[in-house]
Each structure stands twice: as C-alpha cells, then as structure tokens.
Amino acid sequence: MTETSVYIHIPFCTHRCGYCDFNTYEGLAALIPAYVDAVVKEIRYVGERVLGPVVVQSIFLGGGTPSLLSAAQVEAILRAVGEAFLVLPGCEITLEANPGTVTSGYFRALRSLGVNRISMGVQSSRPQELTILEREHDFGAAIQAMKFCREAGFQNVSIDLIFGLPAQQLAHWQRVLEDGLALNPDHISLYALSIEHGTPMQRMFSRGLIEEIDQDAAADMYEWSMNRLAEAGFCHYEISNWAKRDEQNHLMASLHNLQYWRNQPYLGFGAGAHGYFANVRTVGVLAPGSYVARMRSLPVRERAIPRTPATAAAKAVDRQDEIGETMMMGLRLLEEGVSRPKFLARFDKDLDTAFPGVIRELEKQGLLEDDGERIRLSRRGRVLGNRVFVRFV
C-alpha cells in the first residue's frame, strides 16, 4: 500500500505580505471557526468514501498562517485525519508558523497534539528587508518564537529565508544567513524572491519604486550559501532545502515535501488546496467563503474520490504527464536524483528509452551527472534547473 501525505491549507493571514501570491486572505479571521468545521467535513467526506485504508506518513498544515488557528482547532483537524485515515506512528506532522503569532503555551499545546515539526517563516533579519517584504514581525520575534519552540520540546524546526531582494547585496545576505544559522534550526529553506504578478511588490516595481532583482547577484548569494551551509553541517538535499542529521544520523529532511518531489500521492484539504491521489490532480475552490458554503450544503450527486464538493478542478494524469512530472520533481532532489531502477519499476520503461539522447546531452552541457544508477543535477545544474527540467516535460 502506497503511503500518502495529507496537506491542509489555512488561507488566513493578519496582513498580506508584499511579495505574496499564495491563496490567502487578510481580514477573514472571523471565518476561521466555520472554516475549520468545513475542513473537518471535507476530510470525513473522503474518509467515508475512499476504498481501502489510506496510510498517512505526513501531515502538513500550510498557508496562509496556520498558527492563527487555536490549538483546539488544530486538534479538531488532526482528530478528523486520524479518524478518516490510518495515521502511521511517527507520522511527520508539520505546522507553518509566523513569528509574532505564537506563544510558548501554544507550542506546548501543539506538541501535545502530536505536531512534531515547525516551519517558521523568518524570511530575513534585516529590518529594511522585512519592511520591503511587508512582514509584520521583526527578527526579535523570530528569536523569541524559536525559543518558544525549543522550550515546548520541538526537535525538528525549519526556517524559511528569502534572498535576492531588490537592492540586496551579497554582504547583506551573508548577514541574514548568519543570523538564521544562529537560530540553530534543523532545516533551512532558502527561496529566491520572484516578483509575482498581481502582488503589491509588483505594483511597486512597475511604478519604479523598487529596482529590478539582479539575477547574477542572486546567483552569487545562492552559491555562497551552498558553501556556507555545507560548512555548517547541512546537507543540500533539494534545490531550496538543507537539513541537518539527527543523533541517529538520520537526515531531517521534510518527509512531507519529499512526497511531492518523489511524485507520490497526497490528499489536499481546504480552500485552494492541491491534491494528487489515484492519479488525479485536484484543486479546491479558492475563496474560503465559497469553500465553507460548498462544504455546508453537500450536493446530492456523489463525487468520485479524490474529488470532493469543494473541488474546483480535477485532472487525470496520463502516463506521459506522470513521467514528465516525476522527472521535473525528482531531479530537484540533489542527493537522491532520479534512479534508473525505480524509474523502470514505476513506468515499466527504461529511463534512457523514455528520453533518448537527452541525458547525454545535458551531461555534456555540464548540467547533469550520471553514475549509471541514477541521474542528478550537477552543481551548475542546481542554479540552472529549469534548463534541465524543460527537457523532460
């Protein structure tokens, strides 16, 4: 039985950050109780209809700002998951938290509910950068939040940092990463800022209020970070992700995200949540209000799982798409890469027959490494991943 992951989307924030184009809303906090009820209902909807046991290896509450949920609300959701599916012992349960929205007591409560991993949106340590990003917290709040986390007993804490901001220089970034390291996280995600369509930042950019991001400078920052994090004992296991090893020498990689990168199934619940289950990709209706309404008045007509009343779109993934997606996601894993035997086992087809000549060519361009057993991005390929992925989709 293939193990599955569960993603739950919490589309609420106290303020929309300037660069954010995720499905999230400010000023809708009053909807949270009804929303949680709806999520619980959606989980049950699937649980009652799905054939055979669904074995869950990871649960991820993402957002938005899931830490805006009370411990009782988190509990209600986790209980629903536990009742609907077969949650494995030791299942990784992550909650995304923003500094400034959390207390020590809150983390303790989460811990007692079985949440065992926190992903903290630190983003930067420099006040001027936090201002450009329109984050609502300062770095002091991040230090505090980390402290609360550890006090509550969390042994797997990740932080997110953003690099490549307009006008950011290498020295600035070095400062930010050093500050991040000083928080002593177990896992670090580094994201290059991209100015997305429809964000306040994009409007500022088009009005000339902020300068264009210098992609060469961002490349310098990334390369420097690779060296620095290796030195600090982190393993670069995915393009944007680094993890430490625990006492038993286990890599503390995010199991949940590994599920995505290995192109394995996950159920998505909540407004705008994405799912991939039984070879069908689903996405929920975006607006929290509509989501609640849809789950409130269930339609008479049954929906075929993984579709639920909240599903806005569903698409069956054919074999060709699945191969492409497996490549584009799998190659993001820098250590693991895409393994020939696994590919063969999954698709009943040889990797080299599926992409004749492509691997050799990318290897010649210095973007891929091939050890016969598996293919992986080269060091250069890490910064030029798209040039590799496009050849496989």
Partner: protein
C-alpha cells in the same frame, strides 16, 4: 441588360480615407446587402483585413440601382486597397472600369496615394468622380479640400461631392454622379468574345476563379473557352456575378463584370492580364495586359523546426494561388538550413504573408531581414543578380555592386519640411525639387536607394511628422554604389542569415549598432557568446552575451505542481520560437535586428 445601363467603376483613395466604408453604404443603399447582414467594411472578407481594418485584396460586387430617371442600372463596383504596396491591385482594377470615385478624407486632405492612384486612373483614361469624405469629422475642412482636388484635376470645386460615408450623407448623390458621368461600356456586343482577367482567387472546389470584365461579345456557361496568352482551353465549372458572394449566372455579356470558375488548378494557368475568348480557329487580338507586379523586397523564410519544411512549402503554394505577386524559391542557409527566398511587393506585404503563415497555417517560422535585389558586375565581366546578402561573392571578384534606386515623393505639412529633409538625406536620399500641390502642404521629391526605404523609413517619417506625412515611390534605375557586406559572427561563426549589404560610409556605425542590438536580443546561454561584426574582412565591433547564471524555480507551495509545470511549458514554447545556430539559440527578433537600428 443593355450596355447603356451598365456602369463599371472603382473606388480609389489613400489608405483609410474611407473607400470600404463608402462601398458599404452603396451596398446598403442599393439593397444589395440587407441592413441585417451589414457589417463594417463588408467587402474586406479576409480575417486579416477585418482585424487590421485595411483592404488587402480588391473585390468586385454588382449592384442594381434605380436612378432618379426612374431606370434601373447595373453598377459594378470594385473596392481597392490604399496601401502603397498594393498599387498593382489598383492598376488592374482600373482596367475593368470606365470610371473611378476618388475619395479624399476631409480632415487629411491630399496624400501620397491620392495622387498616385489618381494618376493611374487618368492614365487608364477613366472618368474621375472626386469626393470629399468624412465631412462629419470636427476637424473636417471640406471646402478647402474640395478646392485642392478641383485644382488638381482641373474641374470646378462645386462638382466635388461632399459626403460622410460613415453617416451615409451624400452617398445617393455619388451613385447619381456615377450614372450621369461615367460612360457606359463601349464594347462590341457582336464581336468575338474578349474578357479581361483582372484578378483571381483559388477555390478548392471550383479551381481558379478568374474575375473578368467582358469587353466584347459575351459568353454562356456551357461555352468552351480559351486563354489567348497561356493557350489553355477549358470548360468553365460555373460563371456568374458577385452579389457580393459568387452568384451563378447563365451568361455574361459585353460590358459586364463577373467571374469564370475555370476549374484550373494553378493561377499561372489563368493569369491576371490574360484575355479569355472562345475556342476558335481565328483568335481575336489580346486586350492590352497589365504590368506584372514585380517583387521589390526579398527575405528568407525558414521553418524553426526542419521537419516543417514540407508544410511551409505547401503553405506558400496555397498563398500564391491567391496572391500572384508572392514569389518564392528554395534557398539554403548555413545557419537556417532549408527554407525559401521570398519576394514581396513591399514591407507591408511581407508582414501580411508572415502573419498568414503563422496564423492560418500555424507554422513557426523565422523571417530574415529584408533585402533588395542587387546587380553585381564581376571582374570577369559577368553580371549576376542576388537577392540575399549571403550570396554576395567575394569582394575580390567584384567589379561593382548596383542597387535599385527609387523616385520618392513625400507629402507633408510644410512645418515638417526640416525633419523630413533630414531623414531623407540621412538615408542617402538625393533631393530633387519640391512642389506645393495644396496650401500648407509640400511635396518633396527625392531619389533614394530602395534598401534605405525598406529599413524602417516609413516609421521614421511618421514619427517625425506626427503621422501627417505620406509617401509614394517607384523604381527608377540600378546605380553602382560603394557597398560592402556586413557580416555577423555569433560564437565566432559567421551567420549568413544575419548578413547585410550596407554603404561603406555606414558600415562602421551600423556594425556597432547591430552588435549592441543583438547583444540585447540574444538570450543568455550556458556559456559566454561573443558577437562580432565584420566588414571587408575586418572586425569592426564586438560584444559578449554573458552566460546565464540562474534559472530555477523556487519551491512548490502546497504541492502545486501544475503551476510549475505551466511555467516550464511556457519556457519550452519560448525555446521553440528560437533557432539553434551551432550551439546558440537565436530568437526570431534577432534576425530582424537590422531593421530596428533606425536612428540611434
């Protein structure tokens, strides 16, 4: 209908002065098209015509109209394009008519093609009915413009009709004037058949449909017919008139305009300008043909993907069926492999063909920078003509290079005299003289190399004159000039498709501008790409396209893989629009870079 009650006329004007709109109103007024079926510029049936609001192909239509004398007349109207590239369409339409309605925009006044088309009509001995259009516009100067036209053709300003095609004002008077002033056809009904082919189009069921003006005699749909010039005999699939759709008829009589669906498979078999007659022992004399359109501008068209060569060939063949002025022949380029060298009437024509290939035939193509046709006198005394800079022989073997020179007329409000003069001289134009065809307007006459005209000249003129100037040009002669080949090397390899022939005095400057433009247009690759320009074996400019450093997507939030994949697919599509030259990807725009150097 007896010839006495037939009037054949065309509408001519400068671009956008309202020909097609006037035709609309006439079709409505005569009840040829019901108000329900009416749409703006109804005769512009091609998608591209409708979208651009420009007539590309002339079209004919028959109308029945009861005049104020109470009698019913048969009116054959031909709407013509106004753009300078399609002057030949106008000239062939004129051959089918006895009169021409000359439309002039009341706010714009006389412009280049007003005069050019008027002269064509006068040469063809047509009765001119001058009309001032758009009198509803706030900026209209109807009396003034009427004076100008009157002075030009030597009539009384009172006889110039003032109308608004848009609102329909005065349109009935135009029809009355056509009936009163345009002479009826004067063919001999009893003489052997002579029908002039003045246009054609290809129909997949009916073959080549020849648009004809029956000059003498008449024909029935059962007749066996013969082309005097091509000697091709055929039995028509159908004959008829335009209403404005093709409407079958049993016969066409002397003086009438209509069509003959020939069933022939290529336009070459039923050529525009040929005379159709009955198959007989003694053939009548052919009618005076028209001037063959001569392509002026040449460019290479290549498929982005080599496999699409066959499809490109088919598409060009099909386009040529309806557009005899498009010429092409296979060409090979070191950089672009197999494609075609195509000849066009002008830049607008080239743009249209490019768009049709992309849109109607869904082809990904690379179009190289346009060039003119050069005559090269070799040291061994031979003269060759080349239509592609890449084909220029070794400088050492060349005695002289000649390029086509044009006469150029620019019409502009006098206030822009200085800027126009500056533009023309910068482009090697030689000032001849000036005329003042109307108040506040000057006509500047030049001689200028065609190669300078096709490179962004019209845009330069428009921007210098706030859009008020217009121009017309005609071939004059070939002249020897001090020319040289400007070569471009990308990644140290010469790219033949980027070469240009330029005047030696401009080589250095153009080389530099071209290199810096290419540097911006060629996307960053995995390695540093040097770009160089050389002339007469000497590198005159160089620049590097830096290697790409970073191209990767950030994390996938909440498992949203679809969005990432879409981005990659977009990137992949962008790649498809590029051509691999050696190991460098070059986008379509780069091949046209030489067009965008204009006046930096």
């Amino acid at each position: 209908m007896s010839q006495e009650h037939i009037r054949n006329f065309c509408i001519i004007a400068h671009i956008d002065h309202g020909k097609s709109t006037l035709a609309d109103r006439m079709l409505q007024l005569t009840g040829t098209i019901s108000d329900r079926d009416m749409q703006a510029q109804v005769l512009d049936t091609m998608d591209l015509e409708r979208e651009k609001g420009v007539t590309i192909k002339a079209s004919a239509v028959r109308m029945a109209h009861t005049a104020s004398d109470g009698r019913v007349y048969e009116l054959n109207l031909i709407d013509t394009p106004g753009h300078v590239d399609f002057g030949y369409e106008v000239s062939r339409a004129l051959m089918a008519c006895e009169g021409a309605v000359l439309v002039v925009d009341a706010s714009q006044g006389l412009e280049a093609q007003t005069l050019a088309n008027l002269y064509l009509a006068l040469e063809a001995d047509l009765e001119i009915i001058p009309v001032v259009n758009k009198i509803d516009l706030p900026a209209a100067r109807p009396d003034e413009v009427a004076e100008e036209i009157a002075a030009l053709i030597g009539v009384d300003a009172a006889t110039v009709l003032q109308i608004s095609a848009k609102e329909g004002t005065g349109v009935a008077e135009v029809l009355e004037a056509v009936i009163a002033r345009v002479p009826p056809p004067a063919g001999d009904e009893n003489a052997p058949l002579r029908a002039l082919v003045f246009d054609s189009h290809y129909d997949s069921y009916k073959g080549v449909v020849a648009y004809v003006r029956v000059v003498d005699g008449g024909l029935r749909h059962t007749d066996e017919l013969h082309h005097i010039a091509t000697h091709i005999t055929f039995k028509p699939v159908e004959i008829g008139t335009f209403a404005p759709d093709m409407r079958p008829a049993a016969e066409l009589k002397s003086g009438e305009v209509g069509y003959i669906a020939t069933g022939l498979k290529t336009v070459a078999e039923s050529r525009v300008g040929d005379t159709i007659t009955h198959k007989a022992k003694d053939l009548p004399h052919a009618l005076p043909g028209y001037r063959e359109p001569k392509p002026m501008v040449f460019a290479g068209i290549y498929p982005v993907e080599g496999e699409e060569y066959g499809e490109l060939k088919d598409a060009l063949e099909k386009l040529q069926l309806n557009d005899a002025s498009l010429v092409y022949q296979p060409e090979t380029s070191q950089a672009l492999n197999f494609g075609f060298r195509c000849g066009f009437l002008g830049m607008f024509h080239m743009e249209i063909i490019q768009e049709r290939l992309e849109r109607e035939y869904d082809l990904d193509i690379i179009v190289t920078a346009p060039s003119v046709e050069y005559e090269v006198l070799m040291k061994d005394g031979k003269t060759i003509t080349i239509e592609s800079p890449a084909k220029l022989p070794d400088e050492g073997d060349i005695q002289e290079i000649r390029e086509p020179w044009m006469t150029l007329q620019i019409y502009t409000p006098t206030e822009f005299y200085g800027p126009v003069m500056e533009l023309a001289t910068k482009r090697r134009g030689i000032y001849l003289n000036e005329e003042y065809p109307s108040h506040n307007r000057v006509q500047l006459n030049y001689e200028i190399p065609l190669s300078e005209l096709i490179i962004d000249f019209f845009d330069g003129l428009k921007s210098r004159t706030k859009g008020y100037a217009s121009m017309d040009y005609h071939f004059k002669e070939y002249r020897a000039e001090d020319l040289t080949k400007l070569e471009v090397l990308v990644n140290n390899e010469p790219v033949d498709a980027l070469a240009a022939i330029v005047h030696k005095d401009h080589a250095f400057h153009k080389g530099q501008a071209l290199v810096s433009k290419l540097k911006d247009l060629i996307p960053r690759q995995l390695f540093v790409v040097p770009i160089q320009a050389s002339a007469s074996g000497r590198i005159i400019s160089r620049a590097n396209v830096k290697a790409v450093r970073k191209d990767v997507l950030a994390k996938c939030y909440g498992g949203d893989i679809t969005r990432k994949k879409k981005l990659l697919e977009k990137q992949k599509k962008g790649k498809k629009r590029m051509k691999m030259i050696g190991s460098v990807e070059i986008p379509q725009e780069a091949f046209l870079a030489v067009l965008r150097l204009s006046d930096e």
